[in-house]
């Protein structure tokens, strides 16, 4: 299955939770915000939200800015 992750195609073997996706990407969930199919997820929903084929996922964090 293929999802769109931060605007780029990204392949996964099977559907998995947002929390598991973050683990797979080695991303600390406490420091990011996740948008799943244009809906911003509250952090407690990371474990129960399933990423499936064709989904669009955005993972953002803070970078330097003025």
């Amino acid at each position: 299955m293929r999802i769109t992750l931060n605007g780029e195609p990204y392949d996964l073997d099977e559907p998995l939770s947002v929390a598991d996706l973050l683990v797979r990407l080695a991303i600390d969930p406490r420091r990011v915000a996740v948008e799943h199919n244009l809906v911003i997820l509250r952090r407690p929903l990371f474990t129960e939200t399933l990423v499936q084929d064709g989904d669009r996922v955005e993972i953002v964090n803070f970078v330097g800015g003025g």
């Binding site: 990407l25 948008e35 911003i40 003025g66």
Partner: protein, 258 residues
């Protein structure tokens, strides 16, 4: 002299200097510059995580936990994008404050005031503390106040230009009418620009490039700290009126040989 505290939306800051977190030579220099500036509020941008390269250090490791983070919506050209970015920033940082930018022109980075006012209304309704970056325009500032902005942040000059305060009189007028904290955001090039902003009666100054882009960012950060303190004190002290001709500083009586 005792000063009134610098309060935005019920939160008190001892420092009137707000500093950015981008464009420094390194994260370590940024951390030292923040410390030297005495700032208690730092702006950050919201961007996609780099998926392919996870080796990069996290910015937040280099920002003192005692410093309040102010996510911005820099780079947004529509109210929709700015609102989306503000919500992502709130989720990433668990704070409902946002430095709201809706840019209207790529070359000048001047704000799109119409979209900015619309986005302010919506974000205030969504529970945000909105600090909008705006033009040095009284009517735009007034509409932002009416929209519920927690502070107004008119520019001194274009972002990153270092030109200093371009329209002193507009800012003076905005000061006179402002009903919420007034923060001069953008355009500072050097310490005297920050001092001037404060002498005009601004409640605070926000800058990034003037510090991060200086040859010695840490020393410039310290200079900015002093400039903001000096400018504030001068504003509170009530400067002398300007006159066309000299007034002797020493007594004219008792001169030898007269």
């Amino acid at each position: 002299m005792t000063d009134s505290p610098f309060v935005i939306a019920g939160r008190t800051f001892r420092s009137r200097l707000i500093v950015g977190s981008g464009k420094y030579p390194s994260h370590a220099v940024m951390a030292q510059a923040h410390a030297a500036s005495g700032t208690e509020m730092v702006t950050v941008a919201v961007r996609r995580v780099n998926i392919s390269d996870r080796s990069k250090e996290s910015l937040l490791d280099y920002i003192d936990p005692g410093i309040f983070l102010l996510p911005n919506t820099a780079g947004c050209y529509t109210a929709e994008d700015a609102i989306r970015t503000a919500h992502l920033g709130r989720e990433a940082g668990l704070s409902n404050w946002v430095k709201l930018e809706v840019i209207g022109d790529e070359r000048t980075l001047f704000p799109d005031n119409e979209a900015l006012i619309d986005a302010t209304k919506i974000l205030v309704r969504d529970g945000f503390v909105v600090l909008p970056y705006t033009n040095d325009d009284l009517i735009a500032c007034r509409k932002l106040e009416d929209a519920g902005a927690a502070a107004i942040m008119p520019l001194g000059a274009p972002i990153g230009s270092g030109l200093g305060i371009q329209n002193v009189n507009n800012l003076r007028i905005i000061r006179e009418f402002a009903r919420v904290p007034l923060i001069i955001d953008a355009g500072v090039g050097t310490a005297s620009d920050a001092a001037l902003a404060m002498e005009l009666g601004a409640d605070g100054v926000l800058m990034q490039t003037a510090i991060a882009g200086a040859q010695e960012p840490i020393a410039m950060a310290e200079a900015m700290k002093h400039a903001v303190i000096a400018g504030r004190l001068a504003y509170l002290s009530g400067r002398i009126p300007r006159k066309m001709y000299a007034t002797a500083s020493s007594p004219v009586e008792g001169m030898v040989g007269r």
